[in-house]
Point group: C2
Chain length 322, copies 2
């Protein structure tokens, strides 16, 4: 009798797990159906689209795909904050108009020099200290900084539907990676807590590093030069270099993700490409073809014909933030 | 009755698994005892040296640590072979004495120009083709090439005791990585089959790569420039960049591994450093302070005082090859 009850409980638990909605913050639209259909197909041993767990690699861009990126990349806002603090401590480090503008929180002034100015900002704010000290500084900033319009902590501006998608994929024995133009050390400071993605699954842009024994302490130090830009054509290159397998599931939101979407979905067998389209000015932001951040044109124009899912944030997501 | 038999079988299986020797090719010496004591300590929840599975990161050099490296790095022997084939097909590519010597299998001549010559050999033999085509070529070579003195296939010259150590660590929820001066694409061509280490756990030196759509096919292509040398101070830098955690178990065999041993074992909490000392001229090779390959001097001089285990291949291993 006891055994029979026990068996029944197991069966009921199984049924309940199978019928639970893995994506509760996704509306009952085509987008959700297509994702579930794909995942079901690659995980069902009897299916002709079955993929072994070792090859279930999923990669996601970060800015605009897993967390927000308006009014500007959060990592740049961190850089402004750090330069302001460095300038308070030692004003002589503010050697250019770009750095002075950054320290004053004047985004337009700081970005007036384009990529060159951004590089100066990143270099000054992200080098000359150990990786450990840098990541502690990022975590301190995340604790106290608030977003200029939502007043939320930045690491709470992550997309609940994407958190559910990450969990769903991992539950189905996918390995989930971040592949982002953001800095690898910056993202690792919060990726494990925010997304349940461990450091070794975070791929990003990198400054040079050096190994030094400083006063007897073996230390990895962040250096000024750029080692790798993980954007556009750099994304498939970074995935090849660090994962060594072509992902079967890839998510992005801007044309910086086009090359990795193109390369990943061109592989043999079942592949899924997904683009988050920011269409919800009320609950988040609405932007695509214009503006300095998250430009999406080629992906909108060519994505549907390539079979990629364009997620309409306003229509497809019932909830934005956790 | 049936249930009782079933339960007994489970209990017996459990006892047998617990008492099975995880390192049967290691002699009953101090080395084996120290390894098992460390692993037991970090995996026993009740121990004050317990480490959570997420932090059980183990890294190993490849050449001379997991497989042999005499008379010269096997990857260089592959490069000679490939240059010979390229020269047969198109003699005009052999534009220097170094390349002519490589094509003729004249190791001394090929290495007469030192690092500069080696770089030329690697560049010519390892670039100008897709990653996929390169790895297929490496696998073809492994199929047919034989070691000059043992006449064994190169990928069978892996150390059985180290295979057991890798398995033992993984069974205890360690993640095992290769961190080697060898090329990342070269090693991935055999690492999964030889060591059960998947591509995303292989870290190595890298040439530049590019992403190109060639006749409509999205492709990652190997390019001539050196992107990263994963040797000496490059090893902690590479581990930080790709894993983002300081390993708690690290194994090497040469002074090229000194920095990663130093950095890893300087971390907080329990750490284990291991150096394979090649002492067995009869069964493998005997070398340390001299010679062009696998130089080990600082590790022998300072390792014991730093608490690192020096594995005496002749004394500590009952078997070399699988």
């Amino acid at each position: 009798m006891l055994i029979r009850v026990f068996v029944s409980v197991i069966i009921l638990a199984g049924v309940s797990a199978a019928s639970a909605d893995p994506l509760p913050s996704w509306n009952e639209t085509d987008a959700k159906e297509r994702i579930i259909e794909f995942v079901t197909g690659v995980t069902d041993v009897g299916s002709d689209t079955y993929v072994t767990p070792a090859d279930r690699v999923a990669v996601f861009d970060n800015d605009g795909t897993l967390w927000a990126e308006q009014p500007f990349y959060f990592q740049a806002l961190y850089a402004f904050d750090r330069i302001a603090r460095m300038g308070d401590a030692e004003p002589s480090i503010l050697t250019s108009d770009t750095l002075k503008a950054a320290a004053a929180g004047d985004m337009q002034g700081a970005l007036a020099q384009g990529e060159e100015g951004l590089l100066e900002i990143v270099t000054v704010s992200h080098s000359g200290l150990s990786v450990d000290a840098f990541q502690e500084d990022v975590r301190d900033w995340l604790e106290r900084a608030r977003h200029p319009t939502t007043d939320m902590p930045y690491d709470e501006m992550v997309y609940q539907p994407m958190l559910e998608l990450l969990s769903y994929l991992r539950d189905q024995d996918f390995k989930t990676f971040i592949v982002s133009g953001g800095g690898v050390h910056f993202m690792r400071a919060f990726a494990e807590e925010a997304y349940n993605i461990p450091p070794e699954h975070v791929i990003g842009s990198q400054l040079e590093s050096s190994y030094q024994v400083l006063e007897g302490v073996p230390t990895v130090v962040k250096e000024p030069g750029i080692a790798f830009i993980d954007d556009k054509a750099g994304k498939p290159v970074g995935i090849d270099a660090k994962i060594g397998k072509r992902p079967i599931f890839v998510g992005g939101n801007s044309d910086g993700d086009f090359a990795m979407l193109e390369w990943s979905t061109a592989g043999d067998g079942p592949r899924f490409g997904l683009i988050v389209h920011h269409t919800d000015a009320d609950r988040e932001f609405a932007y695509d073809r214009d503006g300095p951040v998250g430009k999406l044109a080629q992906g909108l124009d060519e994505g549907p014909d390539r079979g990629w899912l364009i997620v309409d944030m306003k229509e497809d997501w019932s909830q934005i933030w956790p």
